[in-house]
Symmetry: C2
Subunit: 213 residues, 2 copies
């Protein structure tokens, strides 16, 4: 998929377009600064008002400069999400292998990301659902496949450990796990009185085998 920052530094390809920036120190820093400020501006202003001009202003640069690093506004937003996914993946790996079913904890760590990030993701998914946004659609199709795949692994481990009802089909359950987290967080984002943690705990308990008593 997208190249690592470090490997991009070594390829030494000639600069052929905006998408291939990031090879030289100043550009790398600038690019990162844009990504960082974008999420800040978005959290404050929302999707529509987070214009390239607004982001540029927050950095002290003209809006045209942003296009040296990102081909379109859409690409810029997608790259923000890609980077956050990379960070989350790295953090999860540092955390070691999961101990049993632990979806509620996953959901909590999502929530601890700024709500702004979750709202941005929601906005981009909405765009991906509409005609004519193939880039976004491809990103999210792949992302959800990856999320389901991760859920499958966890469920398989749980089944082996005997903490999952043995009659549950893994594939359907994996989609269900992701759906539950998505849906609960949407309700929570709209109305903080909704207890998404309780919902997730209930869902986990439904997956567990009946108590042997």
């Amino acid at each position: 998929m997208q190249a690592q920052e470090s490997s991009a530094l070594v390829t030494g390809k000639p600069a052929t377009g905006p998408g291939s920036r990031g090879r030289y120190p100043k550009g790398v820093l600038r690019r990162q600064e844009i990504l960082d400020r974008t999420i800040e501006v978005f959290a404050e202003l929302g999707f529509e008002s987070t214009s390239l001009r607004a982001i540029g202003e927050a950095i002290g640069v003209s809006h045209a400069a942003l296009r040296r690093y990102f081909e379109t506004r859409e690409e810029l937003f997608l790259e923000v999400l890609r980077e956050k996914d990379r960070q989350a993946l790295a953090a999860a790996r540092a955390d070691g292998t999961p101990h049993g079913i632990d979806f509620a904890r996953h959901l909590d760590s999502f929530a601890s990301q700024t709500p702004g990030l979750m709202a941005l993701r929601h906005s981009m998914i909405a765009r991906a659902l509409e005609p004519g946004n193939e880039t976004s659609q491809a990103f999210f199709v792949e992302r959800y496949e990856s999320l389901r795949s991760g859920a499958r692994e966890i469920l398989l481990l749980a089944r082996e450990a005997g903490v999952l009802r043995p009659d549950i089909p893994i594939d359907a359950a994996a989609a269900l796990v992701i759906a539950t987290m998505d849906g609960l967080s949407t309700q929570w984002l709209l109305d903080r009185r909704v207890d998404m943690h309780e919902g997730m705990i209930l869902f986990e308990s439904l997956l567990q085998p009946p108590r042997p008593e």
Copy 2:
């Protein structure tokens, strides 16, 4: 909540602004025409490209004319969703009382609505999650409360009928039901290979009491 068409007809308030149309035959028809065309144009063009000008063109009026009926583009889209909700509610009532847990069927009937409508809803929810869209936010907060309330009723009936695991907390389960339908349909909209019906059936089975064998 929002007034019924019929009751609006009787109030007899003077027309004080764009939001209060719908009292006189021509206005009623025009208003309905706008709502109908909007969803058609949206399904074809998506959120961003469904401009007031594009909708006006589809009807044969200028974009400015639309504002006699809807204060803003946002209000127009919200009204489309309100009307679809009203229709769905009426259809559900005509269907009679639900027989036990039947969430999978509900989900299927959602899906049979045009995917364009579901995408529009997703776009509007995304906006509601961002700062400065209080109208949309209020609408969806209320809508989800209403959805959860409906789910609670069904779950209570199911518990009485003995088809629901008796240890399941109703409130948390209601949020979970809605979350599951939302989340599964999102995955399905992105990628039709996802079997949301199977997911919903699995979820229903998790709610059922253990087979007495």
